[in-house]
């Protein structure tokens, strides 16, 4: 490797853009654009453009570390792996696999995630989960239940074929920027763009109809829209009859959700709700794009079911320009879920309770008694640790202290563990609490596959070697497995992929050529049942739904208010979210000077009316307070939010000290989008 141009997939978001890394004398020296990438067409958002700043950062973990007092000592790999095996092994032995937890990484490759959950389950632990729990768990449960699959139904560029795009709870302009291109192309051909969001984001700038919704009232809005559609006779009766069940109950439940009542609850004008409903229903091909604004609520599963209801009563699915797009956040969260790093699913979304699952995997893995039940979700692992039941954890590529709600709870949880091993590329806040830290490889230092939000499985190549003594995650996991008595051999990513293909039907048809060309878009299939007559069509649900009887399930949901209501002490609604220049808990972007220059610190957006009522001027330091704690932030007086609502970006430490850990009962996802707060001068 003296001088080369290596094709990689971006490590940041779920769009899965490709670009080239220029390598000179073994160092990544620059980025070159990839104009023939099918989704990004050569473009990159600011994070992708700055990707090498994080990759080459001097603060990368380069040595295995062992806790010593309040600090860490560098140790050899031999010692580190022995300690990790001892710590995990001891807990497994003394407390049983039910009390050991594994947190996989939505940033790691499919191969790494697959091996990680194989490790956990082979050791008898059902407690393997990943950060999808915090973002699209509502989608996995809600959409899975309604239409049998929980992924984007159409390729991203198909949005350009829509005649109406309903965006709700997504700010793709900042966070999935290439998606904006396709939405704009649709708009330039006359598509009506509807955006529902509490904030007037750059995504809302594209809207023909902007619904500035009160946080946490999505079900009311959607039911209101559906009420209009039913009343005005805009439902697609033939689609309902042939492909769904449950409409009658829904129609009955919608009676009370008049546009007027919906307007009262959501603070969206009645006329706009009616216009939006008509636009969505009347257009020949409508699509729904959604993200955290819908999922991160105590009613997250209901919110997603309501979206499914909407598209089903209009029949906007299974054709070009239609469908539903749950925009996945991480570069490989789709893949991590496909690989079964969710406690309620084995790879390929097989249920642990199904006897065939444990038989098939048991045979393939050579393990007699694999866990046949659901274990603890990521937040439940923290609950269990705090209560003294979960005793050890192995965390790969995640920083739950900064991504979980109510950070204090996670700190207490990790503190309570007997043993914590963290495998990461930077010394995150979570790594600081570990007993053993294992330095891992970043995305450009390994090869393997990532699955993007449009179900595109793409191969990413190794451009450079990891710094210092950092090693590849596949190697680390296999070494630990070996020391815990699972006779694993070291294997390449390609070999792991071969094993994945043999066990995960949707990945079965992948070939190396496909991956090299355009990536491979998986089509949902259960035991070879292809819902599409045109095999290889990237559009899901063209003919049937992968549900037991092939029909989609419409079920009524009712509006329930958010978990925490405002009060005289906390009169403002706090909503949290992302900005385009940073990424999640910030381990990579906070170490990228180009990105830090754009947004250097925590700020709070508040409406001019709320600011002046408190004597707050733009730029001054203020204190944001909830029942959980306080955080200092720079005031940003802005018309982006409505009066009574404030916004904090969660990339900066402190934001999640304030959020609320109350969860959707089915998806177990926390309500990161609504809390009650007060803001005062600092």
């Amino acid at each position: 490797m003296t001088q080369a141009k290596v094709a990689v997939i971006c490590p940041y978001c779920g769009v899965g853009c490709g670009f080239y890394i220029k390598v000179e004398e073994g160092r990544a020296t620059g980025i070159e654009y990839m104009p023939d990438h099918p989704t990004s067409r050569g473009s990159l958002c600011p994070k992708g453009n700055a990707a090498l700043e994080a990759l080459n950062h001097p603060g990368r973990l380069q040595h295995p570390l062992m806790r010593s007092g309040d600090g860490f000592l560098p140790i050899s790999w031999e010692k580190a792996l022995a300690l990790a095996a001892e710590g995990l092994g001891g807990a497994l032995r003394d407390y049983g696999p039910e009390n050991v937890g594994f947190l996989a990484s939505s940033k790691c490759t499919n191969e790494e995630n697959y091996l990680f959950q194989k490790l956990a389950r082979s050791l008898g632990s059902p407690n393997v989960d990943n950060c999808a729990r915090l973002c699209h768990a509502s989608t996995v449960v809600g959409l899975g239940r309604a239409i049998g699959a929980c992924a984007t139904t159409n390729p991203l560029d198909d949005l350009a074929n829509s005649r109406c795009i309903f965006v709700i709870g997504s700010n793709f302009s900042e966070n999935h920027s290439p998606v904006a291109r396709y939405v704009i192309e649709a708009k330039e051909e006359g598509a009506i763009i509807i955006v529902a969001d509490p904030r007037r984001t750059p995504t809302a700038w594209l809207a023909d109809i902007f619904l500035q919704i009160r946080p946490g009232t999505d079900v009311a809005l959607l039911n209101g829209m559906m009420h209009v559609i039913v009343e005005e006779g805009l439902v697609n009766h033939s689609f309902l009859k042939e492909r769904t069940q449950g409409f009658a109950a829904l129609a009955e439940s919608l009676k009370e959700y008049t546009a007027k009542r919906a307007a009262e609850i959501t603070c969206v004008p009645e006329g706009d709700i009616i216009r939006a409903a008509r636009a969505y229903a009347r257009s020949p091909a409508s699509a729904i794009v959604y993200s955290m604004g819908v999922t991160q609520h105590v009613s997250g599963t209901d919110n997603v079911q309501a979206l499914a209801n909407l598209l089903l009563i209009c029949g906007h699915i299974g054709r070009p320009g239609t469908g539903i797009f749950p925009l996945r956040g991480q570069n490989n969260v789709q893949g991590a879920c496909d690989m079964g790093t969710l406690t309620e699913f084995y790879p390929g979304y097989r249920r642990p309770e199904d006897r065939r699952t444990t038989e098939v995997f048991g045979r393939a893995w050579g393990v007699d008694r694999l866990p046949n039940h659901c274990g603890l979700t990521s937040l439940e692992m923290m609950d269990s640790a705090r209560e003294g039941r979960l005793r050890a954890m192995y965390i790969m590529g995640e920083d739950p202290i900064n991504s979980d709600p109510h950070s204090e709870k996670t700190r207490l949880a990790l503190d309570a563990l007997d043993f914590l091993v963290v495998q990461d590329i930077f010394p995150t806040d979570t790594a600081q609490m570990a007993d053993v830290v294992l330095p891992a490889s970043a995305w450009a230092e390994k090869e393997g596959t990532f699955t993007s939000t449009e179900r595109r499985v793409q191969w990413t190549n190794r451009a450079v070697f990891p710094p210092g003594q950092a090693r590849e995650d596949l190697w680390i996991i296999s070494e630990i497995a070996g020391r815990l008595g699972l006779g694993w051999k070291q294997c390449t990513a390609e070999q792991v992929l071969a094993e994945i293909k043999s066990l995960v039907p949707t990945y079965r048809a992948i070939t190396r050529e496909m991956l090299a060309r355009e990536g491979f878009i998986w089509i949902h299939s259960i035991e070879g049942y292809y819902p599409s007559r045109r095999k290889g069509s990237p559009i899901l649900h063209e003919e049937g739904f992968p549900t037991p009887d092939g029909l989609a399930i419409i079920s009524p949901v009712h509006f329930r208010p958010p978990a925490e209501e405002t009060s005289p002490e906390h009169p403002l609604i706090l909503t949290t979210g992302r900005v385009g220049s940073h990424y999640n808990a910030g381990s990579m972007t906070m170490r990228s000077p180009s990105l830090l220059e754009i947004e250097p610190k925590l700020y709070v957006e508040l409406h001019p009316a709320d600011a002046s009522a408190r004597g707050i001027v733009d730029g001054e330091t203020v204190v944001v307070q909830t029942a959980r704690g306080e955080a200092r932030a720079a005031a940003r007086v802005s018309l982006r939010v409505a009066p009574g609502v404030v916004f904090l970006p969660f990339h900066f430490s402190g934001c999640n000290d304030l959020t609320l850990d109350v969860r959707d009962p089915l998806a177990k996802i926390p309500e990161l989008k609504v809390a009650a707060c007060q803001v005062r001068r600092g």
């Binding site: 904006a180 291109r181 704009i184 750059p202």
Partner: protein, 142 residues
């Protein structure tokens, strides 16, 4: 030639800014401001046909070379008159003048923009704007 902006497509993502920084040792020659939470447009050197910056430069450090107003650092005295003269405020200085140099012919901002809001030729920009307007009118007819 300069980089043209299709304002209806700018989503204020800042990709252009960061791409420019990567090509110019950490300094961006593009600036982006969001106006009234309604719109944004990247601002960069217009490579004016009659450049004010070139006119005021006392040492001929700014010279028209084909499509670009080139900056020759060896002649720069750091007087910053160009900064004052530019009507668009797109010449920056930290005692060293920074302005768009079109990346020697392949502007990074144009290549990286996720929505193709930045275009490399006048024709592309104007043709798109005009055809967009025509399409809107045409829809009104049906």
């Amino acid at each position: 030639m300069s980089v043209y902006v299709d304002m209806e497509r700018c989503i204020a993502c800042h990709a252009c800014l960061v791409a420019c920084k990567q090509r110019h040792a950490g300094v961006s020659n593009i600036s982006l401001q969001i106006v009234e939470e309604r719109a944004a447009a990247p601002q960069l050197c217009r490579q004016c046909e009659r450049p004010a910056c070139m006119a005021v430069c006392p040492s001929q450090a700014l010279v028209q070379e084909d499509a670009v107003i080139a900056f020759h650092i060896e002649k720069c005295t750091g007087c910053e008159l160009c900064l004052l003269a530019c009507p668009f405020g797109v010449v920056w200085s930290d005692k060293l003048v920074h302005k768009c140099d079109l990346c020697s012919g392949d502007p990074a901002c144009v290549a990286t923009c996720p929505t193709q809001a930045l275009l490399g030729t006048f024709q592309e920009a104007v043709v798109r704007i005009r055809s967009r307007a025509a399409k809107t009118l045409q829809r009104g007819l049906r």
